[in-house]
């Protein structure tokens, strides 16, 4: 007999070693997330996937599924917290969707739509962040980085390169580039690297491709992020 956990009262089967989010995705249940990508070791830092496990808040992307767990996911309380965490990400950096080429394909924006985020709620930090346009094919706009660590993981695990790392402490956290000059042009990155394409926001962009898909025909223009994500992550990993 397969083991089960309960998510919002519904019995969900899981395999030994699966996390809660993996079990949920397989069962067609969407738990919002940004730093999680099933291709990589879970990170657990964005905290959007926070669920209640037996009454305690846990990150669904890192917490192992265990027989008999009572998981609470779709409640107003959790949705409110997730919305506020998303708002925190918006005010921490400098996100201007209307002028961003990633608009419509941006997971941060997609999650914000999904969580019905209508304003930024918190005061802006107006962080002073840089752009790195040194590379001929790739652009980094640090204003949009949410520190999901996916480029770090992708470069290391898939590309075998270690182009990125997270540095700084607390609110001064920042993404750094592994090159003598600190600039992208002097790093080992290539336009076809996995790390170049994995950014959930518009922080890492391939130059001269910004509008090859027009606004209005993009991923989240017509579909909600839950549908898109479940399809993608379930198909590849279900």
């Amino acid at each position: 007999m397969s083991k089960t956990i309960s998510i919002d009262g519904k019995d969900i089967p899981f395999k030994e070693g699966q996390t809660i989010i993996e079990a949920a995705t397989e069962a067609g249940i969407y738990i919002p997330h940004l730093c999680h990508n099933p291709d990589y070791e879970p990170h657990g830092s964005c905290k959007l996937c926070t669920v209640k496990v037996n009454g305690r808040n846990c990150s669904a992307c890192t917490f192992p599924a265990m027989e008999g767990q009572e998981v609470v996911n779709a409640t107003k309380e959790l949705a409110d917290d997730r919305q506020k965490i998303t708002q925190m990400l918006f005010v921490e950096g400098n996100h201007f969707c209307p002028s961003c080429e990633k608009s419509g394909n941006c997971q941060l924006q997609g999650v914000a739509y999904h969580l019905n985020m209508l304003d930024n709620h918190f005061p802006h930090f107006f962080a002073d962040r840089e752009m790195d346009a040194s590379h001929p094919d790739i652009l980094i706009d640090h204003n949009r980085c949410i520190f999901c660590n996916l480029c770090v993981r992708a470069s290391k695990e898939t590309d075998g390169k270690n182009v990125f790392a997270i540095s700084g402490r607390g609110i001064n956290k920042r993404l750094i580039i592994n090159s003598k000059s600190g600039q992208l042009k002097d790093s080992d990155i290539a336009v076809n690297d996995c790390a170049t394409h994995i950014c959930p926001t518009g922080a890492i962009l391939v130059k001269r491709t910004g509008y090859s898909v027009p606004i209005g025909q993009r991923e989240f223009d017509h579909k909600q992020i839950d549908e898109v994500t479940l399809q993608k992550e379930h198909k590849d990993h279900g």
């Binding site: 830092s45 925190m88 270690n162 790392a165 540095s167 700084g168 402490r169 750094i176």
Partner: protein, 592 residues
């Protein structure tokens, strides 16, 4: 430079896990970690330069830009402020002609703040080139300024400047009965290791760092792991503001602490232990090394300890200024030469700790108590305290009282008893357990020191009626924002939002709704953060908001809304560009 760095790396055995140690030495020698140094270290250790940069940026005692030849850091604990720290620091800033947070142009001196240095019973305190200086006063500051102007090296300064007192003012079981060297190890082998673990279990000893997990259980879980390479770590990263008992224990009772670690190693089957000593206690480093050396010579460390066929040794590793490293999994990351980011759990350190091997992390006081229990039996310990909190607790008492210092009490002692003993009058409230603990008002002084009532890692700060609670809360909230590691969103962004929102209210810019907004941020940070730092960062606000809501409400202006930033000041650039300064080029902060 290359030669120096290569030598340091060679002494450290080319081990990337010792990156922090290596960087500390490079920082001390060159006053910063230059780009060139980064390349050399990366090369020699065969690690990425980004690992080095990220470690340097994470720890507050390491720098990418040069610090002054005299690097002065004033302790910024609330107790330092209560003892007049700010005026002394301002005076020094003026006399030495260096702004706070800056390095003087000629590179002679830098002046800045640092989190609590663990000298709250003898503050205001500072660190100069990493060495602790207690009891600053006008005269001492003048002496120091003079020494700096004469460019006397810190090593040649008079010893009296650095003299730190233990101030043990009340002893009970642990501080009274120091064991003979080797007594606990011998008792453990005589009794049998399984029986010794049972003895510790019978004592009811719980972790003294604050969380209170059963020590015997932790050791048992670790000893039952399949992986046989195991580690023992003593957490001496005593960073909770207001705590300084571990400093005294390591100064006076180091043998017994190491003995407790050795007994633990024998029980769980470990060959290697670490003392993770907070960078602020650097001045204890040499003498602790000597204690270890002495124990090796006594046959109590090293090969074949007490001829029992048991090998175990201890290495001391220094931190470099990061409160978060007191969290056990962040401490382990730091020991591995990385940024101190708390790990995801499970797995817990007992199954996957240092180098992903089973690891015990216990507080200094826990090891001290364990050695006592093993040497003298569980009974003496277990008969003290309460049912759920056996034994005694060593407190670091500071703030408004006649006799700040170290006090040991059986659990279950009332707060009022403690206040009487240390000579505290006219009490407004007590911060029990440091900023991450609880603020109790003078209406709650019959509450008890115990895991089931008021737990504490040791911090006990007293405030009298002359103090402003909001100043205290502000100091604590700034502390958490400064010390957040930045890993998770709720803590990274939340502690900064909390700081801003609190400042807005305390500084008199709050309006209706701002206290509710403050409470909302608190709940968010508390409920969603990754580790204990974020989960407790809102405690100073929450525990005072609950007890003194009127204090917060009274700060609010009687208007609908006021923005959190200075409207008129924000227009300064526009005025300059437009070359205007007429009335229409100014904005009032609130509607008139």
């Amino acid at each position: 430079m290359k030669q120096f760095i290569q030598d340091v790396i060679k002494i450290n055995d080319f081990q990337p896990v010792r990156l922090l140690t290596i960087l500390r030495e490079v920082q001390a020698e060159f006053r910063f970690i230059s780009k060139q140094a980064i390349e050399i270290i990366a090369d020699e250790l065969n690690i990425e330069r980004t690992q080095i940069i990220s470690v340097v940026e994470f720890y507050s005692f390491l720098h990418l830009e040069p610090r002054g030849q005299y690097d002065i850091l004033f302790s910024d604990s609330i107790t330092d402020h209560m003892l007049g720290k700010q005026s002394l620091m301002d005076y020094m800033s003026k006399q030495l002609n260096v702004a706070i947070g800056q390095t003087r142009e000629d590179g002679l001196v830098s002046l800045d703040n640092t989190a609590c240095t663990g000298l709250c019973d003898q503050g205001p305190a500072a660190l100069i080139n990493g060495v602790a200086i207690p009891q600053l006063n006008q005269q001492k500051i003048d002496t120091i300024i003079d020494l700096i102007n004469k460019k006397q090296p810190v090593s040649a300064w008079p010893n009296t400047i650095f003299a730190i007192a233990d101030n043990i003012l009340k002893s009970n079981l642990l501080l009274k009965t120091e064991i003979v060297h080797g007594e606990a190890i011998k008792a453990a082998f005589d009794r049998g290791l399984t029986e010794t673990l049972e003895e510790i279990n019978a004592s009811g000893l719980r972790g003294r760092g604050g969380a209170g997990f059963s020590t015997a259980m932790k050791w048992k879980f670790c000893s039952e792991e399949n992986e046989t390479e195991r580690y023992v770590i003593c957490n001496a990263d005593e960073g909770e503001p207001g705590t300084f008992k571990d400093r005294v224990l390591l100064n006076r009772y180091a043998h017994q602490v190491f003995e407790g670690m050795t007994v633990c190693a024998a029980i769980i089957g470990s060959k290697q232990g670490f003392l993770y000593l907070r960078g602020e206690y650097y001045y204890l480093y040499q003498q602790l090394q000597q204690v270890l050396e002495q124990r090796r010579q006594q046959g109590l460390l090293g090969k074949d300890i007490l001829e029992q066929g048991f090998d175990f040794d201890i290495e001391i590793r220094l931190g470099a200024g990061a409160y978060i490293c007191g969290e056990e999994s962040a401490l382990i990351e730091s020991l591995e030469g990385k940024r101190g980011i708390p790990r995801n759990r499970p797995p817990y350190p007992v199954t996957q700790g240092y180098l992903n091997k089973p690891t015990i992390v216990n507080n200094v006081e826990t090891f001290l108590a364990a050695a006592n229990i093993v040497a003298n039996g569980a009974n003496l310990f277990a008969k003290l305290g309460t049912k759920k909190s056996s034994g005694t607790k060593i407190l670091s008492i500071s703030g408004d009282c006649a006799a700040p210092g170290i006090y040991e009490y059986p659990f279950g002692t009332s707060i009022s008893q403690i206040l009487t003993d240390c000579g505290a009058n006219d009490v407004l409230g007590v911060q029990v357990g440091g900023p991450s603990g609880t603020f109790i008002s003078n209406q709650e002084l019959e509450r008890k020191l115990a895991f089931e009532d008021l737990p504490t890692g040791g911090s006990f700060i007293i405030f009298n009626q002359s103090r402003n609670i909001l100043d205290v809360v502000k100091n604590f909230s700034h502390f958490f924002a400064d010390e957040s590691c930045g890993f998770c969103t709720p803590c990274r962004v939340g502690t900064s939002l909390l700081k801003k929102q609190l400042d807005k209210i305390v500084d008199g810019h709050g309006s209706a709704g701002d206290v509710i907004a403050l409470d909302e941020i608190c709940q968010l940070v508390k409920n969603n953060s990754h580790c204990g730092l974020g989960q407790t960062a809102a405690n100073p606000v929450l525990s005072t908001l609950q007890r003194y809501p009127e204090l917060y409400q009274n700060q609010l202006k009687d208007i609908g809304y006021e923005p959190g930033f200075d409207l008129d000041a924000s227009l300064e650039t526009a005025r300059r560009l437009a070359n205007r300064d007429d009335a229409a080029a100014h904005l009032a902060q609130t509607e008139e």
